[in-house]
């Protein structure tokens, strides 16, 4: 990211000059910021990358029309991906699996861990709905063979089946499996796998850029007082406290 690195370079220069804690006024800071040339297209790409990765397909479509930024992926595939994600999030795992297989049969065929987690989620949903016999049958037929192939799958399977053993499941040591966060975890795993299969990064660039900004500011705090950004939502420069 050119923006980030030019800021870093500036910070490094300042750091080199600083013998004691240096104070940089808002004017100086803004002047320096103005010296950094940032391409509008780069910013747009960053936004588009965020919308695409997070699956905001309508927003991405609007943004494409308004800004002329071409997404690096067919927007139609986002709809499919979101449908899969949503299906897992609402507990329709079988439906999600079918959708993934329609999208690209290679994903689950070459990713045993993801496949196992989806099947495990299916089992969890059966148990949640009180379909005990069906759950047992499913565990035996579909999941047990995977456990034989892989030790860690077996352990996870045992943990999941243990859900059947507790009367008060919610307060049992395996209660977390029934939590909504488990669905979200599985959903995000599928989402990431689909993105990877589309040669797309699993995470948007923007959050990591913000993390780098915070890191750089923390580094600089030790050397200088400057107008820093504390509120990331407004990105306002705060006057340096001297």
């Amino acid at each position: 990211m050119s923006l980030f690195w030019s800021v870093i370079r500036q910070l490094a220069e300042i750091e080199a000059m600083a013998t004691s804690k240096k104070v940089i006024t808002r004017d100086d800071w803004e002047k320096k910021l103005n010296d950094v040339k940032i391409q509008k297209e780069d910013m747009n790409k960053l936004v588009m990358n965020f919308l695409v990765t997070e699956g905001y397909v309508d927003a991405a479509e609007k943004f494409r029309k308004e800004s002329g930024t071409e997404p690096d992926i067919d927007l139609a595939t986002i709809t499919d991906r979101m449908a899969v994600k949503k299906a897992v999030q609402s507990g329709n795992v079988e439906d999600a699996i079918e959708k993934v297989n329609d999208l690209n049969p290679e994903i689950l065929d070459t990713n045993p861990q993801l496949f196992f987690h989806l099947q495990q989620q299916r089992l969890i949903e059966l148990i949640r709905n009180g379909k005990v016999e069906e759950a047992l049958e499913f565990a035996q037929e579909e999941l047990a063979p995977r456990g034989e192939e892989n030790q860690s799958f077996l352990e996870e399977l045992e943990r999941t089946v243990a859900l059947l053993a507790f009367e008060d499941v919610k307060n049992s040591p395996v209660g977390d499996l029934l939590d909504i966060s488990q669905r979200l975890k599985t959903a995000s795993e599928v989402n990431a796998a689909i993105l990877t299969s589309q040669s797309h990064e699993k995470d948007p660039k923007l959050p990591s850029l913000l993390r780098m900004l915070l890191w750089a500011q923390n580094q600089l705090d030790e050397k200088a007082a400057y107008p820093r950004i504390t509120d990331l939502f407004t990105a306002t420069l705060e006057d340096p406290s001297v």
């Binding site: 297989n101 290679e106 065929d109 070459t110 049958e137 860690s152």
Partner: protein
């Protein structure tokens, strides 16, 4: 029962519906295909049971009779066939037997991109299996077809092209054909494509350059700036798998054409990248281990660099983790073995690392053959240290017992590795040997020395030879009782010269030491001595002759009786023809310095000027032309020979110079 919904999912029911759908046609086809596809994807067990029930031919028959306008049916067929072929060799075979191949190829020229994708994916799956047929690169039209695949703007189709190469390109000639047809250039262009394309082309790229310096010089190398640059750049890629593949390519370049990749900077960088990849606990990390191992294998400098990059600490630390997969353990042991093959500092660090030796010896009983072999080789190389050996670190029950157990292993490769390790462990250092003898190791070594497999036989004899080295008289007797005279005689005249060499070395160690030891050669009317003598006249491999000569040399250090026996052996002629020179003279004339040394040493022992027969022996040797031959050798280029020749001549002169 409440689970009745899932009983329609049972293979038998579905297969019934599939058959009737294939026969009747109609809308049912699509539904049943989709159901089958969703059942088998990701599920190896189901794939196998459906294959057994004969599902594949039905699917292929739907594909072959489908009209090319029913796109979604074509897609479902291809996807189902592809899944049957994915990761299951029996599936690939079933798909090919059912005649799916030409139909899938037809899909590649379909107008609907989704159909093309599905067809290409299925074919790619087939080519990712070892069971796939070999693609014939020698036919021009096949090469043209391959290039047309790589030219397509569809990552599944280019991926198929790359898979065909990775699967089928094996020989030097095939590599050349592909490179010269411009395939390498196409692959390099694909490096700019999507992640999937990049990885697939890196993989085929590695296949085409593997062990082929000619192709590398022509197409890669630093003078082909862009390719070289892209490969280096890709070692920093954001995706671990891409970094790994770039490292694999560079490793293959270095191994085939060592003049590339001499820069210490790049070498260190590569080691660091690979070490970082090792942190990945999946397939990438495993492969990184093997790549690193192959990168440093034959070069001590690289081993040093890897050592300095803290490879050992890292691996020893990782080794401590519980429930490591077999591949991971094998990889770790292989690298440690490489590092310890030459560098003493590595050996001591491994040994100092807490639990490392325990983990290695535990792995000797691992259920996976490759792990047992790797652990064994690792133990062998760690024990190459004379210092650590003599400190008795290895001659403990904890180490020796599992190693001996491996001598009984069902796998030949494990046996050979174990024999090499035993060879190392038993060498020298008397106090520790008895443990091995007492633990019943000798019996199995002797058993293996009778193996039909010559590498097992060779290493077993080698281990016995080392065990016999400087062993105390009692153990020596015990070992000899196990080996027995006749089998030992047979080994001395084994059909494999390397086995002979070790067997003679074993005899040499047997007769070395107190005079009693020499008597082993004289039992049964001197059977063993005669056999050694016969090999001296018959063998052609210098190393065999050297060992045989040292046996004679040791015997010649005995008393009158022994010396006379050696005289008899050495003064006989190499053929029936009496006019040829005696065996000792022809061996003194050998081109091989070590053989001349052994021969002169023997003469030195025979000409020691004490004993009743000393004068007579010197006369006999002189008459046989030995003394005049020695005189020709006073300025021998080999210093060792030169010195001994002077001793021998000096000794023969004590009785006066009869040369005039």
């Amino acid at each position: 029962m409440p689970g009745s919904a899932s009983s329609t999912h049972r293979p038998e029911g579905l297969i019934e519906r599939l058959r009737s759908a294939a026969a009747d046609g109609g809308e049912a086809k699509l539904k049943v295909l989709r159901e089958l596809k969703n059942q088998i994807i990701g599920n190896r067990t189901k794939k196998l049971s459906y294959i057994k029930l004969g599902a594949v031919p039905s699917v292929v028959s739907i594909l072959s009779s489908a009209s090319s306008s029913v796109d979604c049916l074509l897609v479902q067929c291809a996807a189902t066939i592809g899944s049957f072929a994915c990761g299951v060799d029996a599936g690939v075979k079933a798909v090919l037997d059912a005649g799916a191949f030409p139909h899938l190829i037809n899909l590649l020229s379909h107008s609907n991109e989704k159909v093309v994708d599905a067809g290409a994916r299925a074919l790619k799956m087939i080519y990712q299996s070892k069971a796939a047929p070999k693609y014939d690169f020698f036919q021009q039209k096949n090469i043209e077809f391959l290039i047309s695949l790589l030219d397509k703007n569809n990552e599944n189709v280019t991926g198929l092209g790359a898979s065909i190469i990775t699967h089928s390109c094996e020989t030097n000639n095939e590599q050349k054909i592909l490179a010269n047809a411009g395939v390498l250039k196409k692959l390099i262009n694909l490096l700019k494509g999507t992640t999937t394309q990049r990885d697939a082309s890196l993989e085929s790229f590695a296949t085409i350059i593997q062990q082929n310096p000619e192709v590398i010089t022509k197409f890669v190398g630093p003078e082909n700036g862009t390719t070289w640059g892209s490969l280096l750049e890709l070692t920093k890629d954001r995706y671990p798998r891409t970094r790994l593949l770039a490292c694999i390519c560079l490793t293959k370049i270095k191994n085939a054409a060592p003049s590339y990749l001499q820069s210490v900077g790049i070498r260190t960088k590569l080691i660091l990248v690979l070490l970082e990849l090792v942190d990945d606990f999946g397939q990438v990390g495993d492969e990184a281990l093997f790549t690193l191992s192959s990168f440093i294998e034959h070069e001590e400098d690289l081993q040093k660099l890897a050592f300095e990059a803290n490879t050992i600490d890292k691996l020893c630390h990782q080794m401590q983790k519980e429930s490591l997969q077999a591949k991971r353990l094998q990889g770790i042991f292989t690298i440690l073995a490489n590092l310890c093959s030459n560098l003493e500092s590595c050996r001591s660090i491994v040994l100092q690392s807490p639990k490392a030796l325990t983990i290695i010896t535990d792995a000797l009983t691992h259920t996976t053959t490759d792990v047992r072999v790797a652990a064994c080789v690792c133990l062998k190389n760690v024990s190459r240290s004379v210092k650590l050996l003599s400190a008795g670190h290895f001659m403990t029950e904890a180490v020796i017992m599992p190693v001996i157990q491996l001598l009984y292993d069902t796998s030949t490769s494990v046996q050979v590795a174990a024999l090499c390790t035993v060879s190392n462990l038993v060498v020298d250092f008397r106090p520790h040997k008895s443990l091995f003898v007492q633990s019943g190791g000798v019996k199995q070594l002797v058993e293996l020395s009778k193996s039909m497999d010559s590498s097992v036989r060779l290493n077993a004899v080698w281990a016995l030879r080392n065990l016999m080295f400087l062993v105390d008289t009692r153990s020596k007797e015990e070992i000899f009782m196990e080996i027995k005279l006749f089998p030992l005689t047979r080994l001395v005249s084994d059909s494999n010269p390397s086995v002979q060499e070790q067997a003679l070395g074993l005899v040499c160690n047997l007769v070395n030491g107190p005079l009693d030891s020499i008597m082993y050669l004289f039992t049964e009317e001197g059977l063993l001595l005669n056999t050694v003598g016969r090999e001296l006249r018959r063998a052609s491999k210098p190393q065999v002759l050297v060992q045989a000569m040292y046996v004679m040399c040791n015997v010649a250090s005995g008393k009158e009786f022994e010396k006379e026996a050696v005289m008899h052996q050495l003064l006989s002629h190499s053929s029936e023809d009496d006019n040829t020179e005696s065996i000792i003279v022809s061996l003194l004339q050998s081109d091989v310095a070590s053989l001349r040394t052994a021969a002169v040493w023997t003469v030195v022992n025979l000409t020691i000027p004490t004993g009743a027969g000393a004068l007579a022996r010197v006369v006999k040797l002189r008459n046989a032309g030995v003394v005049s031959q020695l005189k020709n050798m006073v300025n021998d280029p080999c210093l060792d020979v030169k010195l001994r020749v002077r001793t021998a001549l000096g000794q023969s002169m004590t009785f006066g110079d009869f040369s005039t």
